[in-house]
Symmetry: C2
Subunit: 157 residues, 2 copies
């Protein structure tokens, strides 16, 4: 049976992803390499961070495997100042499409009951204590996380 | 009957509001008056904008009246560069508490059916064409809007 609340949350996710897509279509590689504000992260780092975080959703939701585990160290575990080797903006553009097209397919496979089960990064014991930390809360949380960084990427214009 | 999806979306809203509250507790009036990046909006303007947009939710959701309609012109209708008279940061801090405490009470009054009805800023005819534009989608949209600007306010630290 269709659950309208889930469909609306998925639509909200899609809207934020399409906003990121629009930013990638609008800005050049050079513009994306610039900082959002003097001394702050570059668009490059934020883009890699968003792809890495969203790529990991597949494993947290239990719908698949991360496609780009190599993004974890340079874009999640370490700050930009660590100056690690990082995939180029041009490569990240390809990863963006790959990761979000796959996610769209995977998100559509979860039914109402699955959305309320615990996310895969927590134990059954923790879930008993925090039943709100389920897959639906992961979706809402990641949508907000994406919006948060979209507000920063907007400063590259 | 309790709807877990609604409760999770309300929890997600509360989390973003508490993040804004934390920013207000952490930053001084002087810090909030600064720009998030050279030549960009000030924290002052963004704070007023968020309060004005969230204040208007009461009318869009049909749960009450805006408390601060005077914020519409300086913080929504006009850009910061219009240099209109604006309430001080100190006054906005009071409005923040007033508006969000009222919203919390009002959001709790909507039941499952009401969340799926059209929002009050659109006509019945438009709703037939776009049934996804209901009150639940307003809640998700405003939560993302808040996150978007939180990402910018974070640059004031």
């Amino acid at each position: 049976m269709e659950n309208k609340f889930i469909n609306l949350a998925l639509a909200s996710w899609d809207i934020q992803v399409s906003r990121l897509k629009k930013i990638l279509e609008t800005l050049s590689d050079e513009q994306l390499t610039g900082s959002i504000s003097p001394g702050r992260n570059s668009g490059w780092y934020i883009l890699g961070h968003l792809i890495a975080v969203n790529d990991a959703m597949s494993e947290i939701l239990g719908t698949g495997k991360r496609a780009c585990p190599e993004l974890h160290s340079p874009f999640i575990q370490n700050p930009e100042s660590a100056a690690l080797d990082r995939p180029s903006v041009s490569t990240l553009r390809q990863y963006f499409t790959l990761v979000h097209e796959r996610l769209k397919r995977e998100l559509a496979t979860l039914n109402e009951d699955s959305w309320l089960t615990r996310h895969e990064a927590m134990t059954d014991e923790d879930f008993v204590k925090n039943p709100g930390r389920n897959k639906f809360s992961v979706l809402l949380n990641r949508t907000n996380h994406l919006s948060y960084h979209l507000g920063q990427l907007r400063l590259l214009y």
